[in-house]
């Protein structure tokens, strides 16, 4: 006999742990420690019948509610809510374990899990949710027994049946859950993170660059962009996300570019990409350089090929881009003054390089001279110990001679502009980790990069990456080595990829798209244009399924029938007796001297002749007797 309340207590503790784990990183220290302690206390004290009485529990809950309610404000909603939920869970755990309280506690665990999605929408949520749902459904059934049949003590077989039917419910609900998934509204981003990130420290390419404003660059490995496309050479992996064209004080910013441009065609291989963009602060949609078109989300291209989404969104996005890797952005004439404006406080050395280059006859020759000058400087690429301050460029070019892409690109553009060659900065990402398993590039924040575009008359905007003039560029920006850890990271990222692709980016638009497609198909059927091939296939599948089901039902035997068949075989092969439907089993075997046979018949008839199903123990005994009879023959 098993006590149902013991079992429901165990499930409650499991639920509390599962609800706690995803929320723990966002809780204040006290509830973060107190909740696991409360679980432990409930296990220990609960077994001795000790618990917090209802009245003090209610007072404590009211106090905590008031405490956290005072912390609520327009900018701070989620954290007090999460802490309040955790605190209520603590009170419930140390309180009395009535059926009602257990149900409340498991529901609180579900709320805790739901609260964690205010901060993070990772695929781990699904695992936690599935586990909690299983616990919730089994607990609901057990608690129903606890309150409706308090004296009931099921044996193992009964308990197995109860748990099996309880587990069957969520499994049967799966098709309905699937349907509801397509119907119900959803969010594409963690609600609180989405709200709090506005104007805050969010990943992505910044819309201005100031050389010397930081001593090191981001090394965040968080994936910002996943791009489903065939693998291409690393030299072509420039992801265009920003163009900065105007110096403003010590900074480079973006002004709406004058004129219009077109992408040269056909040079360059066309690469189609399906892009899944994480929530970030980019104002433009990143795509492989040079993007020719973007579809899947409404966007407007600018003259310098940046795509602005027509509706502002701070959530995840998915879209398709078509790019040409070796194409050139053709702009027949440009506003030369706009693209040759110099930033202030340029180092003298840089001015000298410009002046030297300016002596050449054409822009291409000037470009060549500046490139040569940079190569001669013997610069090195580094992401740390970067020169800072107003004289950062001078320190970079002539003192430390090491810097990162921002310093290389801003110095190069300044040198070119000084020589009268139109140039601009292009920001985005370089490289990417190709996930062979799912066929996509994962591009982390640390791959942010800045390069330049130089306008040459008759050719257009050419991409020049001055960081390549660094003597160690290959080593510094090389692809990550394929270590076991890296492979594991990529495999884990695959899960995130599919989660985003299937669940998160499935939005209202997709819901309308599904409804529209279904409507069109229905119209097609009404207009008498059904796809007969598919109809035949579906019909055949249904027929096969029905036939299989009928066959299974017909051939399926109850344990009693199977045992009787076994006995008939033994009687026929060992004693030459055929079982007759008109002769009772006792009569059939009365002249056979075999105790095992008589025991078999006694047990069998004791149940079946009394219109009672065989118990599990009886079936086991009968099977062993049958085995014995078969061996003896």
């Amino acid at each position: 006999m098993i006590r149902i309340d013991t079992l429901s207590h165990i499930l409650l503790y499991c639920a509390a742990i599962i609800g706690y784990l995803p929320l723990a990183p966002y809780l204040h220290r006290l509830p973060a420690i107190a909740l696991p302690a409360a679980i432990l206390a409930a296990v220990i004290a609960g077994s001795k019948g000790l618990f917090l009485k209802e009245r003090p529990a209610l007072l404590l809950a009211t106090g905590l509610f008031l405490y956290y309610a005072l912390q609520f404000n327009r900018h701070n909603i989620a954290i007090p809510a999460a802490n309040l939920l955790a605190s209520l869970q603590i009170i419930r755990l140390v309180g009395e374990k009535s059926a009602r309280n257990i149900l409340q506690s498991i529901t609180l665990a579900l709320f805790c899990l739901a609260a964690s999605t205010l901060f993070d929408l990772s695929p781990r949520f699904v695992i936690y949710l599935l586990l909690l749902l299983l616990i919730f459904t089994v607990s609901l059934v057990l608690l129903t027994f606890q309150s409706a049949a308090p004296g009931f003590r099921p044996d193992r077989r009964e308990l197995r049946s109860i748990i099996a039917i309880a587990l069957l419910q969520p499994l049967t609900a799966l098709p309905l859950i699937f349907v509801l998934f397509f119907i119900l509204p959803r969010t594409q981003l963690p609600l609180w993170s989405g709200i709090s990130m506005v104007g805050g420290d969010r990943p992505g390419i910044s819309d201005s660059v100031q050389p010397g404003d930081k001593s090191s660059v981001s090394t965040s490995g968080a994936t910002l962009l996943r791009v489903e496309m065939p693998k291409i050479g690393v030299e072509d992996l420039y992801w265009r996300a920003m163009v900065l064209n105007t110096p403003e004080g010590g900074r480079w910013v973006r002004r709406e570019p004058p004129g219009s441009a077109s992408v040269s065609a056909p040079p360059g291989r066309a690469v189609r990409q399906s892009i899944y963009l994480e929530a970030n602060r980019n104002r433009y949609l990143p795509a492989l350089d040079l993007p020719q078109s973007i579809s899947g989300t409404r966007s407007e291209p600018s003259a310098d090929r940046l795509y602005t989404p027509s509706r502002s969104t701070s959530g995840r996005l998915s879209y398709t881009a078509l790019s040409r890797t070796a194409a050139v952005l053709v702009e027949k004439s440009i506003n030369r003054k706009f693209y040759t404006t110099l930033p202030a406080n340029l180092p003298d050395g840089l001015k000298r390089i410009s002046a030297q280059a300016a002596t050449a006859g054409t822009d291409r020759e000037r470009l060549q001279l500046v490139e040569d000058a940079f190569r001669k400087l013997g610069l090195a690429y580094s992401a740390t110990d970067l020169p800072t301050g107003d004289r950062a460029l001078e320190k970079f070019l002539f003192v430390t001679r090491k810097g990162h892409c921002e310093l290389f690109a801003t110095a190069f553009v300044a040198a070119l502009r000084g020589a009268g060659v139109p140039a601009r900065l292009v920001g985005g990402y370089f490289g990417g980790d190709y996930n062979e398993l799912a066929g996509y590039y994962a591009i982390a924040e640390e791959r942010a990069h800045l390069w330049t575009e130089v306008w040459l008359a008759g050719e257009g905007w050419l991409r020049v990456d001055p960081s390549r003039f660094a003597r160690n560029f290959g080593e510094a920006r090389q692809q990550r080595k394929s270590t076991l850890l890296h492979r594991l990271q990529l495999t884990a990222d695959t899960l995130s990829y599919y989660w985003n692709r299937v669940v998160i980016t499935y939005d209202l638009e997709s819901q309308f798209e599904v409804a529209r497609a279904a409507g069109e198909r229905l119209r097609g059927l009404r207009q008498g244009r059904p796809n007969y091939g598919q109809l035949v296939k579906a019909g055949a599948a249904i027929l096969l399924l029905t036939a299989g089901l009928l066959f299974w039902r017909r051939t399926r035997q109850s344990p009693e029938e199977r045992l009787l068949t076994g006995l008939a075989r033994v009687l026929r092969s060992s004693y030459g007796i055929d079982l007759s439907p008109t002769t009772g089993l006792h009569k059939t075997i009365e002249n056979i001297d075999n105790p095992a046979l008589h025991e078999f018949v006694a047990i069998y008839t004791g149940a079946v002749y009394r219109d009672r199903a065989l118990t599990a123990a009886e079936v086991a005994r009968l099977k062993s007797l049958l085995q014995e009879l078969r061996i003896r023959k």
Binding site: L133, Q169, I177, L180
Partner: protein, 253 residues
């Protein structure tokens, strides 16, 4: 969660399907006196067991927490009927909170069990003298020896006792013959007539019912006059039940 809640409704409905129930009632049911009946419950489903079934008849119910598939059980249920007379149970309500305790679903099992509820037996109050309705109301005469009553003791055969009184088994073990000494027939037949009893109509029926049972318990033959119907005295149980039924149905309007 919404999907699960939706599907739990179907499980709840399925839990009340394919349930067969029948009632086995005790032979004597008295108005206002609780009696224990047996519900014969069968789960005709070959797929799933049934859980937390509550069977309700009138104001009485019995709980069956678990019923395996293709199995049947006898479930005791305490019933109580307030009115005497012919009664029919036409339906048994089956309710269940399974699978979740948010809703109680119910179904009806139709039956057609007819039976008679006898008047509640009530002893005649002490203030009333015993009714002079009997041919002989001297009561049971347990001390008189007879030849057809219950065995009272064993004695030695004197030669006068009839041979049928010989205690063969005992005699076989001894050298002497033993005879069974039997009581005399317990009392003389008695007639009960509710119209001659004190109290209002229903009270008279209850007193009559009680008297019939008391005399029967004493082993006396008891008869009944109820309206124009007369039951000859009898010590037979079946006759007693017929008399109680006649009392139960007497002038119900």
């Amino acid at each position: 969660m919404l999907g699960f809640m939706g599907i739990s409704g179907f499980f709840g409905l399925g839990n009340l399907q394919k349930i067969e129930a029948d009632i086995i009632l005790p032979e004597e049911i008295y108005a206002g006196v609780p009696c224990t009946a047996q519900l014969l419950v069968k789960n005709a489903s070959s797929v799933t067991p049934r859980f937390i079934l509550r069977f309700i008849i009138g104001n009485c119910s019995a709980l069956l927490p678990y019923l395996p598939k293709r199995d049947s059980v006898r479930l005791p249920i305490t019933l109580s009927f307030q009115k005497r007379g012919a009664t029919v149970i036409k339906k048994i309500a089956v309710t269940s909170q399974f699978p979740v305790n948010f809703f109680v679903r119910s179904a009806t099992v139709h039956t057609d069990v007819a039976f008679t509820v006898f008047p509640r037996p009530e002893p005649l109050p002490a203030r009333f003298s015993p009714p002079a309705v009997t041919a002989d109301n001297t009561g049971p005469n347990r001390m008189k020896r007879g030849s057809s009553g219950d065995m009272e003791s064993v004695g030695l055969y004197s030669g006068r006792e009839p041979l049928k009184q010989l205690h063969w088994k005992l005699s076989a073990r001894h050298d002497e013959l033993f005879v069974k000494e039997l009581q005399a027939e317990t009392g003389l037949p008695v007639m009960v007539n509710p119209d001659e009893l004190p109290g209002n109509f229903e009270e008279r029926l209850r007193y009559a019912c009680h008297q019939i049972n008391v005399y029967a318990a004493e082993g006396r033959a008891v008869g009944l006059t109820v309206g124009k119907e007369i039951f000859a005295p009898s010590a037979n149980r079946a006759d007693r039940l017929l008399m109680l039924a006649a009392l139960a149905c007497y002038d119900q309007n």
